[in-house]
Amino acid sequence: MSNIVETVTPAPTLGFAFIRAIKSFALLRESTPGMVGAGLVLFWVIVAILAPLIAPFDPLATLQPMAKPGTEFVKGGTFWLGTDHLGRDILSRIIFGSQTVLFYAPLATVFAYTLGILMGLAAGYHLGWWDIVLSRISDIILSFPVLVLYIIIIATIGSSGINIIIAITFASAPGIMRIVRGLVLDLRNREYVAAAQTRGESSLYIMLVEILPNARGPLIVDACLRLGYVIITIGVLGFLGLGLPPPDPDWGGMINETRKMAMIFPHMTIFPCIAISSLILGFNLLADGLREVSLRD
């Protein structure tokens, strides 16, 4: 793992680090799977942003129950992907559902990363008691099957968007902490860290400005993979009836609501399945491409 850490001179500012991150994305064009992945993710991001403009119908409106794909709506328009059991246009629900998934999944990931990075920095930079306590806590959480953890938490505290984010943060932060800790252990003895210490910078400054930007490579790859898992997790919770509350479109929930009708109206279930799989595939391919590119450096 340590060989992927950037060994170049330190980035003086966060802004500069950001530009470098963009540059490493630019390298992606050398990897075909990476480009395909980026394309898929970008596609869904654009769909989510433009949802109100491109969705042909209101995703919540009952129009015409159980229409097959391609059916013309009497009041104009076409149900390109058909409608569900309540007569809501599936294409519009998938389009608006991308907003839901691209809101909750990254948000949960960001929370998990914030907590995981802080824990990892503290453990890896300070070592000693910080390290022992934080490492033990994450070992304990990590030794527990993740989905089991989600189910127990959600079934106990109830299901809502916030609770899903809490559960994902709680269960993912230890894994992130472990990666960050490893990276920090490698970086903490670098010259530029020593230099900053000599300058008398605070520990917080050194951790966030000197160390963190240089650990971004592996973290970005991990974040892409993790986003895929988080999307799966939200889907699984929806599938088990522990997901986001209806009627707002949510891909996992759409599959759960219509899967019983899959044998007569396969369109109701298959299209959300394709949507969720394609987005996860996008993140997985992106992660793969980024890893490939960073190894090539």
Binding site: T62, A155, G158, G241, P245, P246, E257, K260, M261
Partner: protein, 574 residues
């Protein structure tokens, strides 16, 4: 059997109302079903009632289609996909699935068929007094329990007393309200409150095979209440032996015994052996297996499709289309008084303002909920929980949906700027429950009410079902409207989830329960329904049809409005 019943009829006393009813029927004031129902309740045997009615109406209600009228074959195993729930004491059952397993081992004093007509079972006859306050049940002779004891009046008395014992906690308390009195008692903190206790001497053993019950006020539906699912007749030693039917299956009079039982997995019932002689016609099936196919309805249908089970307990609406397209599978459907009632507790804000509740009712589009959430399978209802398929239903003037008026009422109540409320739903019966609330959400949005849909796991829903302000609870079918109103809306009864309390309603209901005259009863029922409707304590949009599906080789099976499994005549054509 028909012959002996007719003989009883000749010898026995016929309730004076029977003659009036016959008259009304002949004059056409009474429809055929109502005539059959009421006369059988009054003790005229079903056979006799049918004979009379058929003089005017040759069409006999047949539960078995002519195609299936082939000679029944004895033997074979019927495997039914149904949740195998945790069960012990039938008196406290809260779920029909439990009673279906028990129904094969234990029997009831009466039996109500799919046509809502109640017939004799363990009681071969019942005679009400003219004022309908005293009911005499003649217990059938020669009925044996699985342990070899004969059924006597003692067993019946012990059972009735147990149902009404507050320590048992049976829902029969609400059913047999007219056998209870309010006395001074103490709650758990020692505070003095009124508690309901059985009136001393209200159940009486006349002789070894006669039991008499005395009521405070008249009640016409006693025979039907005796077939309410917690009212299984058990051996007198049932409580002493641990009150667990799965451990003591020999304490029932039914033709089957439980040989294997694992919660969540399987319940196997086999014909009783050891020289047991069933009092009635021997059932045709050798064994009945209830196989738990999980909470997932699709898994049940998949099991039927692949031949792992021969019947499923109920066909989820979402699977109707699939089941209809399956070769070798028959779908059975029946109109019922089952419903998803979205009741409102009028105690807490914002619901304590009746204008808010009225606005909700006016904004709700009951027809659309039926059409969209339940694929139109059922009957539109009028927010008072009495179904047109129930004989005591009285039609009320239609109230049209009126969003403008709803908005006005909300503005008057100080919610002109919008109102935010939450409805709990547990999908305890199916996806249609959430769908119904989702349609309601759209309806209410038009009036400026934002409804949050709180979907919870079925198991968790039962923690809040009687506590939440606003939630959707599934109610099962009952053959009479008054029976349901008695357990669900009478002041202080345990299942009164709306916490509804109206002296006027209680009195009217008691009056309806004691009125035999059809015209008079309908007039009272109209008032009862109006009271509930006006108090706006529920959005009860429609009554739903229930369906089940079986393999074509299962014969003589249908669907009972309450999903009761009356399978003594069911057979397998292999």
């Amino acid at each position: 059997m028909t012959k002996t019943k007719m003989d009883h009829e000749k010898q026995g006393r016929v309730h004076p109302r029977v003659a009036d009813l016959k008259n009304q029927f002949v004059k056409g004031q009474l429809d055929r079903r109502e005539f059959l129902r009421t006369t059988t309740l009054l003790g005229l045997s079903a056979a006799a009632a049918y004979t009379f009615a058929d003089t005017f109406d040759v069409e006999l209600p047949s539960l078995i289609s002519s195609a299936e009228a082939a000679t029944p074959k004895k033997g074979g195993i019927l495997r039914c996909g149904m949740q195998v729930q945790d069960m012990s004491d039938p008196a406290v059952y809260d779920w029909v699935e439990k009673s279906n397993v028990t129904r094969q081992m234990c029997e009831y004093l009466t039996i109500t068929g799919p046509d809502n007509v109640t017939r004799p079972m363990l009681a071969e006859k019942w005679v009400p007094s003219d004022d309908l306050k005293t009911w005499t049940f003649h217990i059938r002779k020669g009925v044996m329990f699985g342990n070899g004891d004969e059924l006597t009046a003692d067993d019946v008395v012990v059972n009735i007393k147990r149902w009404l014992d507050p320590n048992v906690g049976s829902s029969m308390v609400g059913m047999l309200n007219t056998m209870l009195d309010e006395v001074d008692g103490k709650d758990k903190d020692g505070k003095a409150i009124k508690v309901k206790r059985m009136i001393e001497g209200s159940v009486e053993k006349v002789d070894d095979h006669t039991v008499r019950i005395h009521l405070k006020s008249p009640d016409l539906s006693i025979p039907e209440k005796m077939y309410h699912y917690p009212a299984a007749i058990l051996h007198r030693s049932f409580a002493e032996k641990g009150a667990n039917i799965t451990k003591t299956p020999d304490l029932g009079t039914g033709p089957y015994t439980l040989t294997e039982y694992r919660v969540g997995e399987i319940a196997i019932l086999k014909r009783r052996g050891g020289g047991f002689k069933y009092w009635g016609d021997d059932p045709l099936l050798d064994e009945i297996h209830y196989i738990d196919t999980g909470q997932d309805a699709a898994a049940g249908l998949a099991a039927l499709a692949s031949g792992q089970v021969d019947a499923i307990y109920t066909l989820d609406l979402t699977l109707l289309g699939a089941a209809q397209n399956m070769p070798g599978v028959t779908v059975h459907e029946v109109t019922t008084a089952q419903t998803g009632c979205m009741r409102i507790q009028g105690e807490r804000a914002p619901y304590n303002d009746i204008r808010v509740r009225q606005a909700m009712q006016l904004a709700a589009d009951n027809e659309q909920m039926l059409k969209t959430a339940h694929q139109g399978r059922g009957q539109v209802a009028e927010n008072h929980h009495v179904c047109a398929c129930q004989p005591d239903y009285a039609p009320l003037p239609k109230i049209a949906r009126n969003v403008g008026k709803a908005k006005q009422l909300l503005a008057d109540a100080g919610h002109g700027g919008g109102l935010n409320i939450t409805c709990n739903v547990g999908n305890t019966n199916g996806q249609w429950e959430t769908d119904q609330v989702v349609v309601l959400k759209q309806n209410l949005a038009e009036a400026g009410i934002n409804l949050n849909v709180n979907v919870m796991p079925a198991a968790q829903y039962w923690d809040v079902w009687d506590k939440a302000d606003f939630s959707l609870t599934v109610w099962t079918h009952r053959p009479l409207g008054t029976m349901l109103l008695g357990v669900a809306y009478r002041t202080g009864v345990p299942w009164n989830e709306a916490k509804y309390s109206s002296k006027e309603f209680d009195d009217l209901l008691t009056q309806a329960e004691s009125t035999v005259d059809i015209d008079k009863r309908h007039k009272i029922m109209a008032k009862v329904e109006k009271r509930l409707q006006d108090d706006a304590i529920m959005i009860q949009p429609y009554f739903r049809s229930v369906m089940n599906a079986t393999s074509d080789k299962v014969k003589g099976i249908g669907v009972h409005p309450t999903n009761y499994h009356q399978w003594n005549k069911v057979w397998i054509d292999s």
